[in-house]
């Protein structure tokens, strides 16, 4: 929010305030966002379903939210520590360290602020040390390194192919053993490789990077669940000022609604009745992943488009005096 205010000042200087109101973050939006986010979290059907199923994603979501709170209220080391805890539990939320470290490297400034490498490295160092400390505690308590087999190696090697809402299980039932390691590398790299270009593009918008990485984790984890979607869905109302540029909200929302109804139906038809087969269930799960990706790209597009309009005004007039069309290249 501080970042937005600094950008507001910049555009005011260029005297293009007429008609640019929809671009700015309004203070009443900031106030109401807290309530709307709470409502979206509490009444999310996926969240309620996770509670009924009594999964541990509740703890993961709590720790991620706690890391986010610490991140936004200016406590870098607290957020790094909490994130270390949730990474210890789930491994993949470790990528969320990138936006946190970026934020404290470019703390509250505009693009002119130099990148503070000390802050960057120190937050990552705190993260690593807390994680290492937690691991050491586990080793001492359990007496051996056996737990790695059941935790991190389980995530990385994907030995169990129980159907989930992710993309791993269907593919790995068909892959030949000879190529299994290769495909494991490719699939696991999926999460981590996208972080680099996203971080470079969004290095000045760490909150947006955090949100987008949450969606990325929810899609590409080896064992995702719908409980992973709860946090990022609840956070959507904070981007009120970007709603003007979101293009596929109708499509993504309809697909999510269809998934919520059709996935249990396909599961029942396949497992209980024996009428359908794995393809039915995987199809609807793939639609769910597609809807999430649509949401991710929409947020990214809206953020980039918003930046352009913040520098050039809500109606971009080029040299000839006509309105320019802004296209994604």
């Amino acid at each position: 929010m501080k970042r937005q205010r600094s950008e507001v000042k910049r555009i005011e200087k260029t005297e293009k305030t007429d008609g640019n109101e929809p671009l700015f973050v309004r203070s009443m939006d900031v106030a109401s966002a807290a309530v709307v986010v709470q409502v979206c979290y509490l009444f999310n059907p996926f969240g309620i379903a996770s509670c009924i199923a009594m999964t541990t994603s509740v703890f993961h979501n709590f720790l991620i939210a706690a890391a986010l709170v610490a991140f936004q209220s200016g406590r870098p080391y607290v957020s790094a520590s909490v994130l270390a805890l949730v990474s210890m539990l789930g491994l993949y939320p470790a990528v969320l360290m990138v936006p946190i470290a970026l934020h404290y490297a470019t703390a509250g400034g505009n693009s002119k602020t130099p990148f503070d490498w000390t802050a960057f490295c120190s937050s990552i160092a705190v993260f690593c040390s807390v994680w290492a400390g937690a691991l050491y505690m586990i080793v001492t308590l359990s007496g051996s390194w056996q737990f790695l087999q059941s935790t991190y190696l389980f995530f990385v090697l994907v030995p169990d192919l129980t159907p989930t809402v992710g993309v791993f299980w269907y593919f790995f039932t068909e892959v030949f053993d000879h190529f299994r390691l290769f495909f494991l590398w490719v699939f696991q790299l999926n999460i981590f490789i996208f972080v680099i270009p996203l971080a470079l593009t969004l290095r000045r918008s760490p909150m947006m990077l955090f949100h987008i990485l949450l969606i990325l984790i929810a899609v590409f984890k080896p064992y995702p669940s719908v409980g992973d979607a709860v946090v990022y869905m609840a956070l959507l109302p904070i981007w009120r000022h970007l709603y003007l540029y979101i293009r596929h909200s109708f499509l993504a929302a309809c697909t999510m609604a269809v998934f919520a109804v059709l996935a249990p139906v396909m599961w029942k038809l396949w497992i209980q009745d024996g009428s359908a087969n794995a393809n039915f269930y995987f199809a609807i799960t793939l639609a769910y992943c597609t809807a999430q990706i649509f949401l991710l790209t929409d947020l990214l597009y809206a953020e980039l488009r918003h930046r352009i309009h913040m520098t050039h005004g809500i109606r971009v007039i080029d040299e000839s005096g006509t309105e320019a069309k802004i296209a994604l290249s």
């Binding site: 008609g19 293009r247 909200s249 059709l262 038809l269």
Partner: protein
């Protein structure tokens, strides 16, 4: 907010064309859907049935069942025992059956069960008798079930089942166990047996645990010949299960082939196939269309009354009922022995299976015993019929967005606020509509306490449901007249319309996979009316809209449909008052029947009408009766 845009943020070109021609396109798609449904029954557009599972080897073996005297003796003895012991009451002689099964050499057991049903005072108690014939050379990991209900007119079938059991006991080639089940109270007993076998308890059915198991059930054949005199001429093959489930098409084809092998005529819904040369004629077409229609209606409103096979679906078991009937012409064929050979052929084919039925279709409907329409052919019909609903929803949504952006930028913010506020304002209406549906769904369970000795009878139950269902629609009226109009301005009704249309499309689409029959019937009748339901415009439009919606109210629609069906099937033209009374009585029966089915057989029809369709109806009712000033 925009959707389906090009990279520079503007809508694609085809979308503008769509919006201009939306109404014409909707009408065209709906008519195309109806024509499509009529066309897929024509033999050129569907395929001849075939066997997908090679392991079945249908009809390859020579049938060896020849025990005519044994069958007749069993049947005669059973009749004597029943008459001497129970007279006209036709009670089930459990001990006699147990004795006979043990003398054959099978392990025979009895299972007691008690069912608590609404509308029936007191509990329904019964005992199932079942016998397990262990496979001589194989581990008992799979089994085949032969089920016969005990009724006054199935004594001959029980005799046949007993002699078939004695025949099977003498053979050495069985790789799966054979379980012969004789149920009391027909499908209630079968459901009790199955729930005990699979250890899945049902709340309204108290079934004792079984003393013996046979492994995973691969297939079930139910025999239900009414004691018409042999020789039979036709065999009715019934395959519709609860919740619109169907068995694997291979099993149905197997029994068709076995029937034809015994020179009997297989029929579906008592309709014979058109003869070979009639297949591509108009006469043949009407026969195919009639069978298809009966199939769709049977799948839509599948109750448990078509046979014992109907309850096997929930447990993932493929099951079919054989029902021989008709007057055979020659004495040498169509007797009990031929039915026995039919069953023996079916059992021996299923015996050959290496894996459970998975090769052939599970989603189909049959215009005749030798033609099938698979899901790939009939699903586009749902797409065409629901297309108007989706297009309307999209166009209304885009119009709503355009209203927000077409005005000058200064007003844009104000319009956006109204839109999001109206979207939030409409949320209570949606919640109320769904709560009404939930209330209607849970009402029978609240009224009927399984453990209480007082139970409501049919009439009271129906009266309670009807009262609630008819008075609930008054709620939106009251709410809207009492609250200020600015809270429910026209934009919010438009948002509600989008939500209701999308929800209808979702419900019908999901149901189309589960139970195609009911989905297509709902799509045909509900889709056109829902697309033309708009908020209050002119008085005539409002009146017509209201009338159409009243006709669509689930109870009213049920009454009307049953009235039409009765009028068509009754031989003598009826008087309107008699027809109305008959339709009303049948509506009561049907509604209470749905509730009973949901308690005992876990049928989802009642939930579909109350939880899924009624809230959507309430939302459309709210839209039509919105008053703007």
């Amino acid at each position: 907010m925009r959707s389906l845009t090009r990279s520079d943020g503007r809508p694609p070109k085809w979308l503008n064309g769509l919006r201009r021609k939306a109404n014409a396109l909707c009408a065209l798609l709906y008519v195309a859907g109806l024509i499509y449904l009529a066309c897929i029954v024509w033999p050129s557009f569907n395929d001849r049935t075939y066997f997908s599972e090679n392991a079945l080897l249908p009809g390859l073996v020579d049938d060896e069942f020849v025990h005519r005297e044994r069958t007749n003796t069993f049947a005669k003895q059973l009749r004597e025992v029943v008459q001497t012991r129970y007279g006209k009451e036709y009670g089930m002689p459990h001990d006699w059956l147990l004795e006979q099964l043990e003398s054959i050499g099978l392990e025979a057991y009895a299972q007691n069960f008690t069912a608590f049903l609404p509308g029936i005072s007191g509990a329904v108690e019964g005992t199932n008798i079942f016998a397990v014939m262990r496979a001589a050379r194989a581990p008992s990991v799979e089994s085949i079930v032969v089920a016969v209900p005990f009724r006054s007119n199935t004594l001959g079938s029980i005799g046949l089942a007993l002699s078939l059991a004695s025949f099977c006991r003498e053979q050495i080639y069985w790789s799966k166990d054979l379980i012969f089940v004789f149920t009391e109270h027909e499908t209630i007993g079968m459901q009790a047996w199955l729930s005990a076998y699979h250890r899945l308890p049902i709340s309204s059915l108290k079934a004792d645990p079984l003393a013996a198991h046979g492994g995973a059930i691969q297939a079930a054949l139910a025999l239900e010949a009414t004691d018409g005199s042999t020789p039979f001429s036709n065999v009715d093959i019934r395959y519709n299960m609860i919740n619109g489930q169907l068995p694997n098409l291979d099993l149905v084809n197997l029994l068709v082939k076995m029937t034809e092998k015994e020179a009997l005529v297989p029929t579906l819904y008592m309709q014979e196939d058109p003869h070979g040369q009639d297949l591509y004629t108009e006469k043949g077409y009407w026969k195919l269309a009639k069978t298809s229609f009966k199939g769709i209606v049977a799948q839509a409103f599948s109750r448990a009354d078509s046979g014992l096979h109907s309850v096997f679906g929930a447990y993932g078991v493929q099951a079919v009922t054989i029902s021989p009937y008709g007057k055979g012409r020659t004495k040498s064929q169509g007797g009990w022995v031929d039915i026995g050979r039919l069953l023996e052929g079916g059992l021996r084919s299923v015996n050959n299976l290496l894996e459970k039925f998975h090769q052939s279709f599970f989603f189909y409907f049959l215009p005749s015993t030798h033609r099938y329409v698979s899901i790939g052919v009939f699903m586009p019909a749902i797409g065409l019929l629901m297309g108007p609903v989706l297009i309307k929803a999209l166009c209304v949504w885009l119009d709503l967005n355009d209203e927000g952006e077409s005005s000058a930028d200064g007003d844009a913010k104000a319009k956006k606020e109204t839109k999001s506020e109206s979207a939030l304002a409409v949320l209570p209406l949606i919640v109320i509509a769904h709560s009404c549906g939930a209330l209607l769904y849970f009402l029978p369970y609240l009224l009927f306490n399984a453990q209480a000795s007082i139970s409501t009878n049919d009439q009271q139950l129906f009266q309670a449901i009807a009262t609630i269902a008819i008075t609930l629609p008054i709620c939106p009226w009251i709410i809207q007249r009492n609250l200020a109009d600015k809270d429910f301005g026209v934009p919010s009704m438009v948002v509600l319309r989008v939500v209701a249309l999308l929800e209808l499309a979702l419900i019908v689409g999901v149901t189309a996979v589960l139970n195609f029959g009911i989905a297509v019937l709902v799509a045909i009748f509900v889709a056109p009316i829902s697309t033309i339901t708009i908020p209050f415009r002119s008085k005539i439009g409002w009146a017509l809209n209201s009338m159409a919606l009243v006709l669509l109210h689930p109870l009213v629609a049920c009454c009307v449909a049953l009235g039409v069906y009765t009028a068509l099937t009754v031989p003598v033209p009826p008087t309107p008052s008699w027809l109305a009374q008959r339709a009303f009585e049948q509506t009561v029966d049907v509604t209470v029947g749905f509730i009973r089915d949901s308690l005992v057989y876990q049928s989802h029809l009642y939930a579909f009408f109350t939880l899924a369709l009624f809230p959507i109806w309430m939302m459309f009712w709210t839209i039509v009766h919105h008053r703007s000033e």
